[in-house]
Structure formats: structure tokens, C-alpha cells
């Protein structure tokens, strides 16, 4: 990927004595699709608003192409935003909304007209120029908001939960379209969402945040397959998070059973957390053939797969399989070494807190 475009250094924002964003560091490259992901109140929107210039950082720096961006007011930043509720101007029609930025820049009117119609084509709203924005559907308003931002040819587009107000089907369609648009216009997208599936679908890089702190930065595959701690594992997708002991390199003990894994570098007998994704647990009908044994206690049909709860002596496992095992049957469970993700045990009190939320 291209050169570094934006750098956040020790960026901090304090609201009423609480650190909404706590000294985060992040590097964003050209043409990257970066998603800030986390539960509400994790500081992702505040971070985005600081990049957009709507919030002033209390500490830290924002660098844009190596230049300090902090003192630059929003209207002078080469960054545009798609707001959560679109924030289209109700007293202007679609054309006027999209032309707003260009008119301020005093572009000649024929240039404005051609740019606007090019944008309308990009967002698939040709012929909507004279329409009143209140008469548009949520999805259409969304597209106008994107066109209004993109027409200014920003280096970076900030999107604050842009699909949050849309229904599921439209959301999925718009995800694909947004991704497609990003590839075509070739600009950096910084996207904020609390929807982990959306983040996994669209991003080049996901930044998982919690309580103002970055938990993990990585590709969707990294984040999903190798969550760095309990929070990330819990937040991204469904998972079995198990307290375990690292006996030695490549050997982890779960509930008295020592399993092979691909992780190393832990202390001998160090307590750790292990993540096993529900789809990575294989079930065998003969309990003796499994590394772990248990009894099926619940089966729910989910369309693509069955969601089963299997209770062992010590805990309950969530398992996704396309084959159904009846409730009450005694089964064995196997996990491949590379499907076991071993994580350092974090601050235990904090984990419990987040678990109880």
C-alpha cells in the first residue's frame, strides 16, 4: 500500500475528566480502508471527529502528510465527512446539496454542473438533481451525502456509522457499493462502526477500540483469527473464551486436557485465555475419539448451520456445524492446533467488568 497519509500521535480527548480517547497512536496510509470498530462510547466517533476537526484534541498530534493538522479549522482540511444522519441541507435540493462545497470554492458553474452529474452517476442517482432531499429514502439520502463529500475530491473521506440508519438488506448492498466506490475513486476511507460484520466485510485494516484505548490493529483476518485479548475475541464474532494454562511452547492445557497449539513465547505454566471459534470445533459421534467430551444441550437451526451448545464437565461450548447432533447425545470434540488462539491474560478485573456489561 501507498505512503503514510495520516498519523495520530498520543491523541487524547477528555470529557468531564474522563478520557474518551486515551493517547492513541495510529498510522493510516493512502487508499487504505480503515475501520474504527468498537462498542458505543469506545471513543471511535470522537477520534473521527478529531480528524475531521470538529473536536479539539486535549493532547497529542494529528499529522496529515507530515503537517500538523491540529490548528487547521475543518473548512480548511482536505477531508470530507459523511455524517451519521447525513446532515443534508433541507433548504436545498439534491443538486444544490452536492454543489455546496464547489460553490464555496467559487468553481465555474459549468464545472460544478459536470462534477455534480458525474457524482450522481457514481452514486447511481442520475436524474435526481431537482429532487427535494426530504423526499428521498434513507438509502438515497445516504448516497447524496456521499456524493456531496466526494465531489470535493478529498484525500480522506470520514464516514461515521453511515449505514446505521438503513435496514439490513440495504446495508449489505451499500457495503458492497461503498467498497466499490472506494476502489474506483481511490481515496482513503476512515470508517466508524460498531458492527463487526460490516468491519470485517469492508476494511483493509480494522482498529478495535474499547474505553478510549486501541485494543488491536490488523487486517480482518488477523483480528478474527488471532484476537489479541479477550475483549477483541468477544467483540468480533462469536467465540468460546476459555481460561487455560500454557504448559510449554505449543502445548496448552484446557480443563485438564493438554492440546497442541501453534503459540509460543509464554512462561511455563502461565495462565492464559484461549479462543476457539464455534465453527472450528468438530464433533465426532464417538466421545472417545474427541479430545474433549460433552453432551449436546441445545440445538438451534440458523440457516447455514446449526448452533449447538455442548456441555462438558467444566463448561459449555458454542459449536457451529452443518450437521445436527440431537439434544442429549454424548459427543466428542476436536480442535486443530491452528484453530486454537492463545492470548495473554489481561487485567482480570477489567475483563470481568466488560463481561458483565
Amino acid at each position: 500500500m501507498g505512503k503514510v497519509l495520516i498519523e495520530l500521535k498520543q491523541l487524547t480527548k477528555i470529557y468531564n475528566g474522563v478520557k474518551a480517547v486515551d493517547s492513541i497512536n495510529l498510522t493510516i496510509k493512502e487508499n487504505e480502508f480503515v475501520t474504527l470498530l468498537g462498542p458505543s462510547g469506545c471513543g471511535k466517533t470522537t477520534t473521527l471527529r478529531m480528524i475531521g476537526g470538529f473536536e479539539e484534541p486535549d493532547e497529542g498530534e494529528i499529522l496529515f502528510e507530515g503537517q500538523l493538522l491540529n490548528p487547521v479549522p475543518p473548512y480548511k482540511r482536505n477531508i470530507n465527512t459523511v455524517f451519521q444522519r447525513y446532515a443534508l441541507f433541507p433548504h436545498m435540493n439534491v443538486f444544490e446539496n452536492i454543489a455546496f462545497g464547489l460553490k464555496i470554492k467559487k468553481m465555474p458553474s459549468d464545472v460544478i454542473a459536470s462534477s455534480v452529474s458525474r457524482m450522481l452517476k457514481l452514486v447511481d442517482l442520475e436524474g435526481f438533481e431537482k429532487r427535494n432531499v426530504d423526499s428521498l429514502s434513507g438509502g438515497q439520502q445516504q448516497r447524496v451525502a456521499i456524493a456531496r463529500a466526494l465531489v470535493n475530491q478529498p484525500k480522506v473521506l470520514l464516514l461515521d456509522e453511515p449505514l446505521g440508519a438503513l435496514d439490513l438488506k440495504l446495508r449489505k448492498e451499500m457495503q458492497i457499493e461503498l467498497l466499490d466506490m472506494q476502489r474506483r475513486v481511490g481515496i482513503t476511507f476512515i470508517y466508524v462502526t460498531h458492527d463487526q460484520e460490516e468491519a470485517l466485510t469492508m476494511s483493509d485494516t480494522i482498529v478495535v477500540m474499547n474505553k478510549g484505548v486501541i485494543q488491536q490493529i490488523g487486517t480482518p483476518q488477523d483480528i478474527y483469527n488471532e484476537p489479541i485479548n479477550r475483549f477483541v475475541a468477544d467483540f468480533i464474532g462469536e467465540s468460546n473464551i476459555i481460561e487455560a494454562i500454557m504448559r510449554e511452547d505449543y502445548k496448552v492445557e484446557i480443563d485438564g486436557v493438554v492440546l497442541d497449539c501453534t503459540d509460543k513465547g509464554f512462561a511455563k505454566d502461565e495462565p492464559v485465555d484461549v479462543v476457539i471459534r464455534p465453527e472450528d470445533i468438530r464433533i465426532v459421534t464417538n466421545p472417545e475419539e474427541g479430545m474433549l467430551q460433552g453432551t449436546v444441550t441445545s440445538v438451534v437451526f440458523k440457516g447455514v448451520h446449526y448452533e449447538m451448545l455442548i456441555e462438558s464437565d467444566r463448561r459449555e461450548f458454542l459449536v457451529h456445524r452443518t450437521m445436527m447432533f440431537p439434544v442429549g447425545s454424548r459427543v466428542g470434540m476436536n480442535v486443530q492446533p491452528f484453530d486454537i488462539q492463545v492470548m495473554k491474560r489481561g487485567n482480570i478485573s477489567e475483563e470481568e467488568e466488560s463481561e458483565h456489561e
Binding site: F83, R85, F89, H91
Partner: protein, 305 residues
């Protein structure tokens, strides 16, 4: 839909609500409206009709059946002296409305931009003077502006020449602006405080500095408030007689003073009625113009639905 003028929106939905339940509940509730209807007929419609009748007649006002048709009242209005009074009334009302607008708009903006915690305090400051009687407030202005009033004594004290503004137009204007300013501020404040802050951020995001944001976003969205503010100031300003009577002396009679004079001093109810009807028609015309402006604004905003 959310972005529509809130007052319009709520009245529309109330109306809808009312219609939906009309067949069952309003049959009984309607009775509650009768006292008001009776009140209106006795104290508004009948007097208005009387004024209309007097304005087109001459003769003994105490005997309705002896009245004869006459356009004298209206013809008299065309005399230069009275035309001048009418023109003067409109001119003063226009100027005071204009000053109320340029003084009131920034105040409304300041209040709307204040932290909601302190907003109500500012609004109270604005409204406290209105708790006092209108007449009393105008008397207060008399004691400030009169030749030996507080203002002149103060000017003398700091060694400046005295100001002879009362009685006179300036004093009337000051009194009008003072008394009607809250009626300009409140509707504008209401509209401004409802503007979505995201729109201002969007404008800034798209390259608009504060000035551009005001011209292109804030002001156009506040026009409904400006229109109702203008209406609420202009109407009482054009028909006032107390303020001009107390602060203007005999120098600058307004149409309100003229009407009062015809009814109370000259006992010429026919001419007084003609003047009243003319004033009413002129106010109606100005209101029609204002609502036309507002509707045009709405159409530009594409909100004709």
C-alpha cells in the same frame, strides 16, 4: 421530515389526530368551544361589523337605523394631512421593525448558541421587563428621555450637550423598539435553536467558514422565524398609539393616535371607523405579503408538500 418547521409540523399532526377521532369524541368536546364562540361573536365580530357600518355612513351613531350611506370618512383619509400621518405610521413601523430585526437576530443567535443550562436564564432576562405593564415601561422611558430626564442630567453631568429627543420621532422609535424587541427575538430564537448542529458541521466540513455557513445555511433556515418576528413587531408597531402619545407628543401623530382622537376627543366615530378599516386592510395586505415571502422560501426549499 424531521427538518420541517417544527411548529408547522406539530399543528399538522394535531390536526390529523383530531380528524381521526372526530366521529366519536369531538361531538361532546365541541360543546366546550361554545363559550368562546359566543365570546367571539359578541366582542369581536359584532364590534367589527359596527366599525365597518360606521365607516361607510354618517349620522347619529347611537341610532343605527338613522344612519345614511356615505364615503366621507374614506374620502377624508385622502386629505394630505391624514395621508401624511398614515405614511408616517408605516414608515416608523418599518424602521422599528428593521431595528428590532438587526438588534434581535444577534441576540437570538447568542441565546440559541448558549449552553442549554444557561439559556433559560437569558430568556428570563429577556422576558422580565414584559412582566411589567406596557404603560409603565413607556412611562419609564418618559422619565429617561424627557428634557429634564435621567439621560439629559447624565449628559450634563459628564459635560455633554443635552439631547432634545422627547417629544419626537426618535423617542417614539426608541419606545417601540424597546417594547417590541422580545417579539422579534423569541420566534427567531425558537427556529435557530432547532437547527440541527450537524448541518453547521457539514457546512464547515465542505469548506464553509463561519460567515459562509451563516449566509448559506443558518439564515435561510431561520427565515420562518424572521417572518413571524417581523409580523409580530410590525403589526403592533403600525397601530400603536400609547407609545407615540406618551413619547411623541403632538409632533408626530400616528394612525393609532388619529383613531384614538376621533373616538375619544373629536367624537367622529365615522371617520375613526374609516381609519380603522384602512389600517386593518393595510395590516392584512402586509401579512399577506409576509406569508407569500414565507411560502416562496418554502418552495425554494422544496417543501410545498
Amino acid at each position: 421530515m424531521k427538518k420541517k418547521n417544527p411548529s408547522m409540523n406539530s399543528s399538522a399532526s394535531d390536526h390529523h389526530h383530531y380528524k381521526k377521532h372526530a366521529p366519536t369524541s369531538t361531538r361532546y368536546l365541541r360543546v366546550l368551544g361554545y363559550p368562546y364562540v359566543i365570546w367571539m361573536v359578541i366582542f369581536i365580530i359584532v364590534p367589527l361589523l359596527l366599525v365597518l357600518i360606521y365607516s361607510f355612513t354618517k349620522g347619529d351613531i347611537h341610532n343605527l337605523f338613522s344612519l345614511e350611506f356615505s364615503a366621507d370618512g374614506y374620502l377624508r383619509v385622502l386629505e394630505p394631512m391624514y395621508l401624511k400621518v398614515i405614511m408616517n405610521s408605516f414608515w416608523l413601523a418599518l424602521i422599528s421593525t428593521f431595528f428590532c430585526l438587526i438588534l434581535g437576530y444577534p441576540v437570538a443567535m447568542i441565546i440559541a448558541n448558549t449552553n442549554p443550562k444557561y439559556r433559560s436564564i437569558l430568556l428570563t432576562f429577556l422576558l422580565v421587563p414584559m412582566w411589567m405593564n406596557f404603560l409603565l415601561r413607556t412611562y419609564a422611558w418618559m422619565s429617561i428621555l424627557s428634557p429634564n430626564g435621567i439621560l439629559n442630567r447624565f449628559l450634563e453631568w459628564i459635560g455633554l450637550p443635552r439631547l432634545e429627543i422627547m417629544p419626537g420621532q426618535t423617542a417614539v422609535l426608541l419606545g417601540m423598539i424597546y417594547n417590541f424587541l422580545p417579539f422579534m427575538i423569541l420566534p427567531i430564537y425558537t427556529v435557530l435553536s432547532k437547527i440541527d448542529k450537524n448541518l453547521l458541521e457539514a457546512s464547515s466540513d465542505l469548506g464553509g467558514n463561519k460567515f459562509v455557513t451563516f449566509i448559506k445555511v443558518i439564515f435561510p433556515l431561520s427565515i420562518p422565524g424572521v417572518v413571524s418576528g417581523i409580523t409580530m413587531v410590525f403589526m403592533p408597531a403600525v397601530s400603536t398609539f400609547v407609545i407615540s402619545g406618551l413619547l411623541g407628543g403632538d409632533k408626530t401623530p400616528l394612525i393609532g393616535d388619529l383613531i384614538e382622537q376621533q373616538f375619544m376627543t373629536n367624537r367622529n366615530w365615522h371617520f375613526g371607523s374609516s381609519l380603522s378599516i384602512i389600517l386593518m386592510v393595510m395590516i392584512l395586505i402586509s401579512m399577506a405579503i409576509m406569508s407569500r415571502i414565507e411560502r416562496n422560501n418554502d418552495r425554494e426549499e422544496g417543501r410545498t408538500s
